[in-house]
């Protein structure tokens, strides 16, 4: 396990692109962890509270300054603090959705490629059904039935996100399935599920990792879109996409209110893209 981690880290730092990407991602990650810790420990790590009482609030609509690097919003809340507090949600949803997609996809696709035949057909047609579900529609349906909010939206995204990973895993698994060491594994008495987890998945994980890293940014973007539509976390909980949405009207007078959260989202996506591209180049994967 330790070797895997070292391998993965060395993969990620091999070229300039991915180092930049990794730095950005790590910055977000550390922030997310700190914010979660602060919530759990009931300690405030941000310069100002994210949801201050009217008495604690600063003057409204202050432009960026030394005291408030990102300015304040229409309720006098420090924008920087709100952005920081939103990090765990907006950032982690990327990991949660892609993580589950990778797992589901790897198991279904890996098994399909390994076994072939009817099972392959069945699994792939099952995947096709989910492929056909439009993300937005499912999100809205889930929003209507279960209500909005980050957990429900995560669920909606997880339902629709895994099919492309299953396809990818199947393609990679087909290549692995013909290798002699798979046959040798059968000769060692292993059955397909065991072969899937011991041999197939470790050997397809490289390509899937690349795909996943590039994808996390996309999830963040999509979730921001959902929040923009009103399906995400409701105020007063801070949320990047929601901030962009609600401060749309202030674009001409106090542009920083909508721009800065938007830039933060972009930054997150760029970070993952760079990291993913870097790993892709290192591994020589198309």
């Amino acid at each position: 396990m330790a070797v895997r981690l070292r391998e993965v880290l060395s993969l990620m730092t091999r070229n300039k692109q991915s180092i930049v990407g990794l730095t950005i991602v790590l910055a977000f990650l550390i922030t997310a962890i700190l914010m979660e810790a602060s919530a759990l420990l009931n300690v405030q790590f941000t310069p100002y509270p994210a949801n201050p009482l009217p008495s604690q609030a600063s003057p409204q609509l202050l432009p960026p300054s030394l005291a408030h690097p990102f300015g304040t919003d229409n309720l006098g809340r420090d924008v920087l603090s709100r952005i920081l507090v939103a990090t765990p949600y907006d950032f982690m949803i990327g990991f949660a959705v892609v993580g589950s997609a990778v797992f589901i996809g790897a198991v279904l696709g890996g098994l399909a490629g390994l076994r072939g035949g009817l099972l392959d057909e069945f699994l792939m047609r099952f995947t096709d059904i989910f492929f056909a579900l439009p993300v937005l529609l499912i999100a809205m349906v889930v929003g209507a039935i279960l209500g909005g909010g980050i957990e429900n939206m995560s669920l909606a995204l997880m339902i629709t996100w895994w099919p492309s990973y299953a396809r990818l895993a199947r393609g990679e698994s087909l290549k692995v399935a013909h290798q002699n060491y798979i046959e040798a594994s059968r000769l060692s008495g292993q059955r397909s599920p065991s072969i899937l987890f011991r041999h197939v998945i470790p050997n397809i994980s490289g390509t899937m990792l690349v795909y996943a890293t590039l994808d996390i940014g996309t999830v963040i973007l999509v979730y921001s879109g959902l929040t923009f539509l009103g399906l995400g976390n409701h105020p007063p909980a801070p949320d990047w996409g929601q901030m962009v949405a609600s401060f749309n009207g202030y674009i001409l007078t106090d542009p920083w209110l909508a721009l800065i959260p938007g830039l933060v989202i972009s930054f997150g996506v760029i970070g993952f893209s760079l990291l993913g591209d870097g790993i892709k180049d290192t591994l020589g994967i198309r």
């Binding site: 013909h178 290798q179 002699n180 060491y181 046959e183 040798a184 594994s185 059968r186 000769l187 060692s188 008495g189 292993q190 041999h199 470790p202 050997n203």
Partner: protein
């Protein structure tokens, strides 16, 4: 040989049908590829049987069918006194005594597993040994193939072709099997490395009383390693017998051509330039009628296109499938 062979097949068949696709109305005829078409061979205990042939003769399919990796279409397989084809046979029990080494050393080892984990896999899957027993047995196996203990922690990409093949052999013998099926074990290796592996195989056979089934297209390797030989052509055995006998006096016209064509390092004996063989191995989907060798056979007559010749005894323990054995006597 009076004693019971360790493994034998009786009229073993493996046919592949090319499917017509999903369309039930499709009028495409189902084509049948008879990869293995009635093969009966014996592997004597403690000895080596070489199955020799060119591409498409079915030797690889035969090996995998006998290793129970592919279900046979017909015929019987007996191993260590019991019938092992068909259901009801636990393949785990068979694999404790039967293992396989493959041709391509690069794809024989999982690139993400260390050498010691690779060698331990059959031990973990087939025996009830606990962790430390497995470790000890794996190390023993590693040293038996001539690799020092510090190879145990390496990954395949740190090994040369010959070393990878040794690890594959170590994995195969880790459960102390009785039979090893070797599928072209040295074809992908350089001459010097091949010699090392051949020496190793001879040594292991002696030390552990192993039986080998050697699949190869290389006559020289077959001659060196085997005691008995079976020559295959287009899915059937055309000649069987003691290796020395077949080399000295081949009786089937194909065996003759094969031995002539095999290059020997002897510039004064250029049999290769004298061989009259023409044509290519037949298509598996549309084989010639009767004896499958008839289009290329210098002795072929009309009966050869009508009847498949049966294996006929030509000497003690030596038979060949030809209508005109008199021509090669």
């Amino acid at each position: 040989m009076a004693s019971e062979p360790l493994m034998r097949t009786v009229e073993l068949r493996k046919y592949y049908t090319s499917t017509r696709g999903v369309n039930p109305l499709s009028r495409a005829k189902e084509k049948v590829v008879k990869a293995v078409d009635g093969v009966s061979i014996n592997i004597p205990e403690g000895r080596t049987l070489a199955v020799v042939g060119e591409s498409g003769c079915g030797k690889t399919t035969l090996a995998r069918t006998m290793a129970l990796l592919i279900p046979p279409t017909g015929g019987e397989i007996y191993f260590d006194g019991r019938r092992v084809d068909g259901r009801g046979v636990s393949d785990r029990e068979v694999y404790r005594k039967l293992q396989m080494v493959f041709q391509d050393p690069d794809s024989s080892l999982d690139p993400r597993m260390r050498v010691k984990e690779t060698i331990a896999e059959p031990l973990r899957g087939l025996t009830g040994m606990n962790g430390s027993e497995v470790k000890a047995a794996a190390m023993e196996s590693l040293q038996a193939v001539g690799l020092s203990a510090d190879f145990a922690d390496r990954y395949p990409k740190q090994l040369s072709g010959g070393q990878k093949q040794r690890v594959a052999i170590a994995r195969a013998i880790s459960t102390k099997p009785k039979l090893l099926i070797l599928d072209e074990p040295t074809s992908a290796l350089d001459a010097s490395v091949q010699a090392q592996i051949l020496n190793l195989l001879v040594d292991l056979q002696r030390r552990y009383s192993l039986s080998y089934m050697l699949i190869t297209h290389n006559i020289a390797v077959a001659a060196y390693l085997s005691d008995v030989m079976a020559v295959m052509y287009a899915g059937t055995v055309v000649e069987r017998g003691p290796t020395s006998e077949i080399l000295r006096k081949p009786r089937h016209p194909y065996t003759l051509a094969l031995l002539e064509s095999a290059p020997k390092p002897d510039p004064l004996n250029r049999t290769l330039l004298e061989t009259e063989i023409s044509g290519e191995v037949p298509s598996a989907i549309n084989p010639p009628p009767g004896c499958k060798f008839n289009p290329r056979c210098p002795f072929a007559e009309s009966i050869c296109t009508e009847q498949v010749p049966p294996l006929t005894l030509v000497a003690e323990g030596h038979d060949a499938a030809c209508h005109f054995l008199g021509k090669t006597a």
